[in-house]
Symmetry: C2
Subunit: 291 residues, 2 copies
């Protein structure tokens, strides 16, 4: 049930926004895709690659689009989201059917900033859980979202009509939608996404430290190492705001994680093979869950 | 330059030994592959799948094989390796051309056990750096070793003729050979392999802990989490001896790693975005190395 008349405005033409642009256009959800991109090099690249029909100013994009997607790091989105709702307001009748969504990895702070905004119901908080460790318009790719989960937060705070439209958008991207409140979202993502990035960053730092003395250490890097350290290539521009915004949850998970690492460390230190077996056998239960 | 007359005896028909059996036979290096497997269920499976021509007793395998591959966890290999050399000895002239190799992930302890054995030169210490997180004969697969690195340790301690034969074996498996001493091997693998397994185990434990309260947390697990936690499925039977045998190196790496994690933790705790940027930007240098 796609609607060829949608004009979609995407603010931020990186991996996330750019990949949405490709599939929303190609699969017929969007008649026109407008892009807003603050970084001139990225804007030029996005136009050259053809991610969007046209790069526009923020004002023009909001004036012309039916659906606005905030696809910028969460630190910027916290500032921009209320402004977009204000701009809807100032457009009067013309602004009253527009919808804005964000696609950020943390939600509690963001939703709090507009909780009492008179146009709150035109905002839908979403988190499509897909990505790669690459960034920028060059990293955008078709099919990025296919088969992954998308969380819609606090949907009762949004107008039912707006939620339905955004469900249709994610249906076009072949995502399965999950519903929860912002607070649970931030706890869960700390566990199944944010901590993985920190462990990869720390692993990279550990090994790079050693590499200063041992030039050839990476000749040996095998598949297991590569997959464990892959996320350490992730962009600080994206991840600093995520860790900041989700500070309390992330801290709690990091503390648990450091405890578990220390349990391993002490078992190795004490050559306690029974303890190592207990820890590994427990960890093996992840097989139930991750194929 | 494969030699159809090689009889290869593989002790331990799991992922590692079984995958070698498949390709050494299929690619013509081995005329006959004999297998030794202590676990009756695995032995029956290996014969049924056809990994080896025949399952044999240890004595028969050593008596009939030109090349013996110890493909059991390193704890067992430490005990078995000197026994195999003793058995070569007791075979007299017939044992004088036989070669034994191990394929274990740690080397210093293992090579130490036979340093002064009169038949030391018939042993070649090797570490083919490939694997998956699965184990057992069912996990064996063709092509497992293709394109990966194989470390040959202390090659000057082995007879040149034996080293050449084993190079030919790894050439058949499409591996590139790297040479270093056992001590460097154990330092390097602690950094580029062993620590990755521990960080994955700890991550699995952290998230499984949380799952006790939150049944649906894994609905959200994305690709990044899966790749970071994948190694937590690894077998305790393999990994307990590795961490024990490589205790000192692994401890050193774990301590560095825990320090790096704490640096992240403190930066998050203090909302120190400059410090987070510094840490992440440094970690991003892994891009130079891992594609």
């Amino acid at each position: 049930m796609t609607n060829r008349t949608n004009t979609v405005g995407i603010i931020g033409l990186g991996l996330i926004g750019g990949s949405m642009a490709i599939d929303l256009k190609k699969r017929g959800f969007a008649q026109t895709v407008l892009g807003v991109e603050a970084e001139p090099v990225n804007a030029a690249a996005a136009e050259k690659i053809g991610l969007v029909d046209r790069v526009a100013s923020l004002e023009e994009c909001i004036s012309l689009s039916d659906i606005i997607i905030l696809a910028i790091p969460v630190g910027g989105a916290v500032k921009l989201l209320p402004q977009v709702l204000d701009m809807f307001s100032s457009l009067g009748e013309k602004g009253s059917d527009k919808i804005v969504i964000d696609v950020c990895s943390t939600k509690e702070n963001l939703t709090r900033t507009v909780r009492y905004h008179p146009l709150r119901r035109q905002y839908v908080a979403t988190h499509p859980m897909a990505g790669t460790e690459y960034s920028g318009p060059w990293a955008a790719m078709p099919g990025l979202y296919d088969g992954h989960a998308c969380i819609i937060c606090d949907s009762e705070e949004s107008a039912p009509k707006a939620v339905r439209k955004i469900e249709e958008l994610y249906d076009t991207l072949n995502m399965r939608t999950i519903y929860m409140n912002s607070s649970n979202h931030d706890v869960h993502t700390a566990y199944v996404s944010h901590i993985s990035h920190v462990t990869s960053f720390a692993l990279a730092l550990t090994v790079l430290d050693k590499e200063k003395d041992e030039k050839h250490i990476f000749d040996l890097a095998s598949g297991g190492f590569s997959s464990t350290v892959r996320l350490a290539k992730s962009s600080p521009d994206m991840w600093i705001p995520i860790l900041s915004q989700n500070r309390d949850n992330v801290l709690r998970v990091m503390d648990t994680y450091i405890e578990k690492m220390k349990a391993f460390r002490d078992a190795v230190d004490e050559s306690d093979e029974d303890k190592l077996r207990e820890l590994m056998t427990e960890a093996n239960k992840i097989r139930r869950i991750i194929r």
